[in-house]
Amino acid sequence: MNLPLTDPLLLAQDIPESLSARLRSSGQAVCIRFSHRGDLLASGTAKGTIAIFDLETNGVARKLQGHTTGRTVQSLSWEKSGRYLLSSSIDWKVILWDLKDGSRVRVCNLGAPVYIAELHPQNWLMCVAALYEYRPVLADFTDVKRTHQHALPNLPKRGAHEAEASEKADAKHFTTVAAFTPGGTHIITGTTKGWLNLISTSTRETVYSTRLCSKPILLIRLSSSGRDLLVNASDTIIRTIKLPDLTSPTLSPDNINLEVEHKFQDVVNRLSWNHVAFSSNADYVMASTLMNHDIYIWERGHGSLVKILEGPKEELGAVEWHPSRPLVAATGVESGRVYVWGINMPQRWSALAPDFAEVEENVEYIEKEDEFDIRPAEELQQRRLDQEDEEVDVLTVDEEQIEREGGFKQEREDEFRMPVLLDMGESDSEDEIVAIGTGQFRRKSTAQDEMGFEDGEGEGAVREGGSGRKRRRAD
């Protein structure tokens, strides 16, 4: 609803500019994920806890504890409505959470540390997981009692003549990453030997394979349209790949031919990339890099670097782009804080004084014919009241408006809204490690942390970037 009043120039901006917030972390965040509606951000910590941040208040909305304490949460995956969240950890477990009450709907032990687990986009009772030195698994949670686990192939699809020659090489060939296509019809996996496999969800067979490089594939991301693939491999190159329409019934595996559209890499330092992500409409690609404090954003049309987001003085781990707004979140590798970059909204002074307008240059004012005529006040008043004859509709909410609000439909019953817990304040007892200098760390008490956050300022090493913040403080 704020769009009609917002400066159109700012609305046209689609890349974040500067650091706008630090989320008070509850432990050291290592992976983050925005909900589909974009109002919540889930973060998993190195200690196995999960915190759900409310992006309107930048505060913790819920905490989830269920993974083995001390084991890193590896991945998070939201169900569409935002009610369910899947988390995976190196404690071998995947947990499906119900955010209505914070309960665990399903807990499933997959028998090996999990690299990554992702929910089926249409059916939240199904997930795919890539496991450490094991075959990837398609798990079906429909049965309350028992989870059905189906192993998926590790190996690429080969012609008959290739089979024998590669037998030896297949011994240590494992899947490192798996992801559903947005339609859920296929699973795309990446392997330790640089292969990309396309697996049909229904038959659980590899329908197509291609080799991108000889090094392990680290991460696969799909755009929301499902037509673009983003692959981060340990050969320090990020690749974008155009996908065919996988939902099309006429698609035959033989016709698939994946070609690399762009390759992004740091030619000078040849540093590898920590984490990659598409922007909301896949126009941009961004990445955080090893030993570097910045986030790189490339434009996909020409493949050019368009922005380097500067922020805290620490290396950044996971990076995520908000599903609809120019907003980027990233985790700090050392502090475990979650940083958020957004667009600066300068105050328009004319908004404060209704009699003034902001103009580029002097404008000669042309008075209206009767503007300074002297008339009895009553007559003016009368006339004004008579002119109020338009139809006004104060009730109807048009569809377009709902759309703009990001699908926030009040009337819809299936719309999930997370209950607001009023006692979040003191529940944050976890210690937090804060870097106070190079190589120096200290524990930080909750009280201090709270202060720090309220100020909108970190301490010590994470102090910078506060300049980008336009927040007024009460004294």
Partner: protein
Amino acid sequence: MSNDFSPAGTPHRDRSPKRKRFSPTPTDPSAKLQYAYDEDQDVPSDADEAFHTPASALSPNGTTVTPKRRKTSPTRPRSLNYRPHFTLHGHKRGISCVKISPRGHLIASASADSTIKLWDARTGALQHTLEGHLAGINTITWSPDSRVLASGSDDKLIRFWEVESGKCLETVLVGHHNYVYSLAFAPKGNMLVSGSYDEAVFLWDIRTARLMRSLPAHSDPVSGVDFVRDGTLIASCSSDGLIRIWDTGTGQCLKTLVHEDNAAVTSVKFSPNGRYVLAATLDSNVRLWNYVDGRVVKTYQGHKNVKYSINACFGTYSSMAAMLEEAGSPDGEDEGEDGERDSRAKKQWAFAAIGSEDGSIVLWDVSSKEMLQRIPGNGTPVLAVDVGMEDQTIVSGGLDCCVRVWKRGLGDASETTNGDGAIEENGTAHVNGQTDAQENGGDVVVPIANGNEESTTEAVDGDGAGDEMEKAMAMVLE
């Protein structure tokens, strides 16, 4: 549209817009009644009336002659007849705020006696008395899930109450330097906005009881705050005469609305669809603003408000036919008509409501500015009004220390007089006639549903007005 002024077949009568606008209370009661009768003639006749009147349901041979015009655009009622339903006694001092819960099951009333009372909306029974504030309470607001009530008081605190148990929650928002004057919950229930006598608007994260933002809002006490339906905008108003619209996300002022008279604004409320704001000012006007363009689109007049901070609010009403159907069609006979009934029931119009310092409550149609009803009172100022969006209930509270609940009468003047006697009282029409004619003031004897006597007009006026610590208190003009 539906509210055509001279439907075909109506005898000609002088209905110049001018008269409509500037004599909101027709001088001749019978004229108003006559209008009501016209309405009936406008209704195409028995066949149709039968269709939507459950008692007579369908004619035996099952004729469903439902004129199309009628079906697509049900007639907008020209008047409403809210009638007393309950009078809830218990508060010892003036009532500053009443709010119906979003679920509609409870009524909360806040008073200068430092208590909040929760009443069962259906039976009128007192559920809880919430005690904890150390000074008079100015404002209350329900959380969207109806489970928590927030209150702002002259003791500078904002407290939360668990509705189910009536307990005060540990969360207390401390930060205002002066009386907390106005409150609103964000639609998602995660934030609270407060306006205070310290001239600031605070935005709170209520999960952690943390002050998120302080908006340098006004140069006088902030008398009203509200969230738009998706929570992205905040409106605030003040006795400095300004209404400001803020961006929730950035905390920046996006628009300032000011009327040239610069009268103190006492309440601001976003329309249900969020496209307008309704503001009440101490020059006895209620204005509807298009806040994007920054202009007044409607001015509603006819009440008196020069001294107290009185809130205006929106309500909806449907055609009598839809209401009758909703109220009583337990019979499955006319089930075939479901689709049509739905479409008709859906058609709703909006009204604006405000209490008046002469003790009445005034309802206007939002679009036509017609006064739909002046609910008479006993002469003591009505300071707070709220309308239940679901079941057409109005709740009011004022300096007479009573909470009054008003229900829309089933037999509207216009339609019961049609003669088929579908619904009870024929007398209603009469009462309604007088109601509209108004100016009979307090001596209209209206039967109260639960038999409570009309409360007396004691000298409570001075009570609230004299005490500076109350909201029920005068906004100093000079």
